[in-house]
């Protein structure tokens, strides 16, 4: 038997896998209880996966969608509510996790929970020029002079937020500073003095 050769033509894509219907439609009981993964989210070091809870089929259209409710675990954190997947279900980016590999994923989550929690700071120090500007400005307007030069961070809201934001008075485990900070890839800074 000759080997099947696949030649791809056209634009490349970052997606890798099947659409959700292709997975769910071929499984017994529409795959309730099975675990699926968006391959886009495999870029994170923590485990991200979804356990199918309920499936509703939808009419066969050009982009076949399916309505699926999942227990979502994103970056090692399980969301408190069920998540509905409908609008993104047509994306050929889902992967089914074989039953013998499910244990591994769950183990990764358990490992993650044993690691120290990352807490984000509530406040950030002002940039140097802004400090001087603020002093001048407040003197001119006769307002009280700021002493600590901290400003609150405006975090965007997301149910998928991986790291917790510190409570008032709590100490954060990471600090944002105006300097270069700790590089994510130190190999790029070889021979360059940081700070």
């Amino acid at each position: 038997m000759t080997e099947k050769i696949i030649k791809y033509v056209g634009r490349t894509t970052d997606f890798k896998g099947k659409t959700l219907w292709e997975i769910v439609g071929s499984l017994r009981n529409l795959g309730v209880g099975r675990i699926i993964v968006r391959s886009t989210f495999e870029r994170y070091p923590e485990a991200s996966f979804m356990k199918i809870v309920k499936v509703e089929t939808c009419p066969d259209e050009e982009r076949r969608r399916v309505r699926v409710w999942v227990e979502k675990t994103f970056r090692g954190k399980k969301l408190p509510k069920l998540t509905e997947i409908y609008r993104t279900s047509y994306k050929p980016d889902y992967k089914l996790i074989p039953k013998n590999e499910e244990e591994q994923l769950l183990a990764r989550v358990a490992e993650q929970s044993s690691k120290p929690e990352v807490v984000l700071p509530r406040q950030i120090e002002m940039p140097p020029l802004m400090k001087r500007f603020i002093i001048n400005d407040h003197e001119k307007k006769g307002l009280e002079v700021i002493k600590d030069f901290m400003m609150p961070i405006n975090f965007t809201y997301s149910p998928n937020r991986a790291h917790r934001i510190a409570e008032p008075g709590e100490k954060a485990t990471v600090e944002f500073a105006i300097d270069l900070g700790k590089p994510a890839s130190p190999s790029l800074y070889e021979g360059v003095p940081l700070k």
């Binding site: 056209g10 634009r11 490349t12 950030i124 002002m126 940039p127 802004m130 307007k141 400003m151 609150p152 961070i153 405006n154 965007t156 944002f176 105006i178 270069l180 900070g181 590089p183 994510a184 890839s185 190999s187 790029l188």
Partner: protein, 217 residues
């Protein structure tokens, strides 16, 4: 050049016009609503290749920068709100007094206008009332006249009927009337000739006119 760019639509017609105009319109760019050019259908743009470590580092730096910028914007937004509220409270007494004065002035002016308007309204009402009265009287008069005419007509009819009633056939006069009718039979049949002569009666002998002139008249 730029104005021409806006005014002139993309159209093949313009190729036949001034080539200088066309140059600026066709300056290497198609409008967004046109489909992909035939020569570019199968062109596949190369995707940029960013090494993984560079990507991660750039992501981190950009995230830091964005966090900083959001914080700064939020700080200045809060500052502005704070400033506005304080400035408002500082001038509140002054503004209250000014507002009260303005209110009193407006009230006075409004009262004046109201008085003037009420005067005008009274006058207008009087005129309107007079007009209405006049109209109502006229209508009443017309109605009276109509009624009177009707009565007059009816009484005239009664008078005529009374006069005629002398000739009516009553039960007492019935025998006499029958006898009279039998004694004087009337024959309403008649014939005419070509000249228009009229011959009364069906059985009665024809009565010829006395002379020809009579016929012609």
């Amino acid at each position: 050049m730029s104005t021409l760019h806006i005014i002139i639509p993309y159209s093949a017609v313009f190729k036949k016009l001034d080539p200088r105009l066309m140059q600026c319109v066709l300056a290497h760019r198609k409008p967004r609503w046109l489909p992909v050019a035939k020569s570019k259908i199968y062109r596949i743009p190369k995707r940029p290749v960013v090494p993984e470590d560079e990507r991660r580092e750039l992501m981190r730096l950009n995230n830091n920068y964005n966090t900083y910028m959001r914080a700064i914007k939020q700080f200045y937004r809060d500052e502005m709100v704070k400033e506005q509220t304080t400035s408002n409270s500082a001038t509140s007494e002054m503004s209250l007094k000014l507002d009260a004065e303005e209110w009193a002035r407006c009230e006075e002016l409004n009262g004046k206008w109201n008085a003037q308007v009420s005067l005008e309204r009274e006058e207008r009402r009087k005129i309107q009332l007079a007009e209405m009265e006049e109209y109502a009287l006229a209508r009443m008069e017309a109605k009276d006249k109509q009624l009177r005419e009707k009565i007059e007509k009816a009484s005239e009819e009664i008078r005529i009927q009374k006069e005629l009633s002398a000739t009516f056939i009553t039960p007492e006069k019935l025998d006499q009337a029958i006898e009279h009718a039998l004694a004087n039979p009337v024959d309403y049949n008649f014939a005419i000739d070509l000249q228009g002569g009229r011959y009364e009666g069906r059985d009665s002998p024809p009565v010829l006119p006395k002379n020809k002139d009579e016929i012609l008249q």
